[in-house]
């Protein structure tokens, strides 16, 4: 087991707008991956491509080495997918949903689903439309997990949950993930939601991959440099400057460091993951040509292309 999910130059276009483009990445198996990006960055498109709901316009995607589109019977049973807003049949009871899962899946662990639902006190005989948002999310997660998948794709699972429900949801998810060695991909537009549970990060911005890697490593290798307002080309020659801001007397840089920073003029500080993510998103937005970030050696390309996708349609609309 190496990679749960791999993509190569993966792209998807709606009409003339690219919702995702030139996405080449590999998600190692067994990781909890945060898929982060602003609204409309292509998160939902990415997840729908991975589960086979959408066909790629360009490139390819493979899940455990299989194409979700061409080999759905190989991929679908191994993937637990919870779509955005956790769609359920409103007039179906929770029990009806379990029946649906049982009838539509060869691999189905109903006892497991029931015990999960009981644990959260969700009445099995109630119509899904009458459950609270948090309960619906738990039902959707239970349905996805009762397939006993090897890869769970969860699209904005926390969006409709209050803080308590978020904690319960993530805790429940972690229990499964750890017990089963599951690979999980969680999407959100806020990294703070996911920081506590994820160990791998993909930042999407403007339909492209802006940052990818192990979270610990990302945090370790990004520093904030504060120094006098001087020319910082020397720093930029060695390290990758992600973000810079200037006051009259001071320059603040957020850099991905390559090795040590020897210049004593710079005061070096740690950065939070959130700041790093925001910097990468801002960098993509500004589409600064020198901010290639190439030092990462990552499989992604810099957002040199200044094509703007601000007008991109709402993702949930687009993926219908």
């Amino acid at each position: 087991m190496s990679n749960a999910l791999e993509t190569a130059q993966l792209g998807r276009r709606y009409g003339r707008v690219w919702a995702l483009q030139d996405c080449t990445l590999a998600l190692p198996a067994g990781r909890i991956v945060a898929l982060v990006g602003p609204n409309g960055a292509g998160k939902t498109t990415f997840l729908h491509l991975a589960v086979g709901l959408l066909r790629p316009t360009a490139g390819s995607v493979s899940v455990f080495g299989h194409s979700p589109q061409r080999e759905p019977l190989t991929v679908l049973p191994r993937v637990g997918f919870v779509a955005q807003d956790h769609p359920l049949y409103k007039e179906f009871t929770v029990n009806d949903h379990l029946t649906l899962g049982r009838k539509l899946n060869r691999r189905w662990d109903e006892a497991y689903a029931v015990s999960r639902l009981n644990q959260f006190g969700i009445p099995l005989t109630r119509a899904a439309g009458k459950l609270s948002g948090g309960q619906q999310a738990q039902v959707a997660l239970a349905l996805g997990m009762a397939k006993r998948p090897e890869l769970a794709l969860l699209d904005e699972p926390l969006a409709s949950l209050d803080p308590l429900a978020r904690r319960d949801f993530l805790r429940a998810l972690m229990d499964v993930a750890v017990a089963d060695g599951l690979t999980v991909v969680l999407s959100s537009h806020l990294i703070t939601d996911l920081e506590r549970v994820c160990d791998y990060l993909v930042v999407l911005s403007h339909s492209r991959v802006a940052l990818i890697g192990d979270i610990e490593e990302i945090v370790r290798t990004h520093k904030r440099l504060v120094g006098p307002r001087t020319d910082h080309t020397a720093v930029a020659a060695v390290h990758n400057v992600i973000e810079e801001s200037h006051t009259a007397r001071q320059t603040t840089l957020l850099v991905r460091v390559n090795g040590h920073i020897f210049d004593p003029a710079w005061e070096i500080a740690d950065v939070t993951l959130e700041d790093i993510v925001l910097a990468y998103m801002g960098q993509a937005r500004a589409s600064v040509s020198e901010a290639s970030g190439g030092g990462m050696g990552g499989p992604w390309r810099s957002p040199l292309d200044d094509e703007k996708h601000d007008e991109e349609r709402d993702e949930s609309e687009v993926t219908r």
């Binding site: 709901l53 959408l54 759905p72 019977l73 049949y89 009838k103 691999r107 397939k147 219908r320």
Partner: protein, 346 residues
């Protein structure tokens, strides 16, 4: 999967079942008076026995005329409409929501990410709904068969083509698949239902009016009633007279207004050397009974009467052709839906 269809659409299915049963009961009970009168014995004869024996006695002529006057043919408008619209209703309420409802509520993201392919999901749903629809249509068909049977002289043959035999089942299959395809195409339930109704009528009506008369070349008879008052070959009462009318000496059809102007002159019947002096009331459209009027007139004009018809023994052949046509359309719509669901919506 059949469970899924039932669980998801059971209210609609129950409502449609009630409608179908109501229509069936209405037809059966509605035909009782005609049926009772048909077998009502008066002085040892009934319309039934008269028709059976083809008797021309005074009593029989009176009995059959009386029965025909009262129960001429299944002229019950509600019954007719019910039968003709029923397939469209099934298509609208059973077919159209099948895919459209999933897309509208976003639940296709749940259904299509379980362990079965979309193709299987769709085909099973289609099969389940087709079974339901054909069962309902079957119930109505039995009632229609009983209803038409209550009007033996007229209630069969081409006059009841759209209601008899296999054709209505093919209409149901077509309407259902049309609803399904429209749902996958427009992705909204209500517009899909409206499109299904419009599309159903837009296909049915032109086929009845323009295609069906030409499934086989019709038989045509053109004659001068003055020369041949009773041609040996004529459409029988069970044959389908597609059209009939007068042709002038060059073979061009004479319009109704033209006909009356030439026969009567402007302003109604009047005798005169330039006009015919009919003794009866000739009708440009009902022209095969020329007894009692002056066919010398039309003869002098050089007019011929032409009648075009499809003989009654082609009924089942035509039913087969029409069935094949609508079933082929249904299959094409299934293919379209599969393509939409698997390729366009992906």
């Amino acid at each position: 999967m059949i469970w899924l269809v039932w669980r998801r659409h059971r209210l609609g299915i129950l409502a449609l079942t009630l409608l179908a049963l109501a229509l069936a009961v209405y037809l059966v009970i509605g035909s009782w008076p005609a049926r009772a009168a048909y077998y009502q014995v008066t002085n040892g004869q009934s319309p039934a026995s008269c028709y059976a024996s083809q008797s021309t006695s005074t009593l029989c002529t009176q009995l059959t005329a009386q029965w025909r006057d009262t129960y001429d043919d299944p002229g019950d408008v509600l019954g007719w409409l019910g039968i003709l619209i029923a397939p469209a209703v099934l298509g609208m309420f059973l077919g159209a929501p099948l895919v459209a409802d999933e897309l509208e509520s976003g639940t296709q993201r749940l259904a299509w990410t379980q362990g079965v392919t979309r193709r299987r999901w769709l085909l099973t749903l289609i099969a389940s709904e087709a079974i339901v629809a054909l069962l309902l249509a079957g119930v109505v068909q039995v009632a229609v068969w009983y209803w038409l049977g209550s009007y033996p002289p007229d209630g069969n043959g081409f006059g009841a083509f759209d209601m008899m035999g296999m054709a209505p089942l093919a209409y149901v299959a077509f309407a259902l698949m049309l609803g399904l395809a429209m749902g996958a195409l427009v992705r909204r339930v209500v517009p899909a239902m409206l499109l299904t109704l419009v599309g159903y009528l837009a296909v049915r009506i032109p086929i009845v009016l323009y295609a069906r008369p030409h499934y086989l070349p019709p038989l045509t008879l053109t004659w001068d009633p003055y020369v041949t008052p009773n041609p040996r070959i004529q459409p029988g009462s069970q044959d389908w007279v597609v059209s009939g009318g007068w042709l002038d000496s060059t073979g061009k059809p004479i319009g109704r207004g033209d006909f009356f102007a030439r026969v009567f002159g402007a302003g109604g019947p009047r005798p005169g050397p330039n006009y015919c002096t009919p003794m009866g009331q000739p009708d440009a459209n009902i022209g095969t009974d020329f007894n009692g009027w002056n066919t010398l007139c039309t003869h002098n004009y050089g007019w011929h009467y032409q009648t075009v018809w499809q003989p009654a023994d082609r009924f089942w052949l035509f039913q087969g052709i029409e069935c094949a046509l609508f079933l082929a359309l249904a299959v094409a719509l299934v293919a379209l839906t599969l393509w939409l669901v698997r390729r366009v919506l992906a």
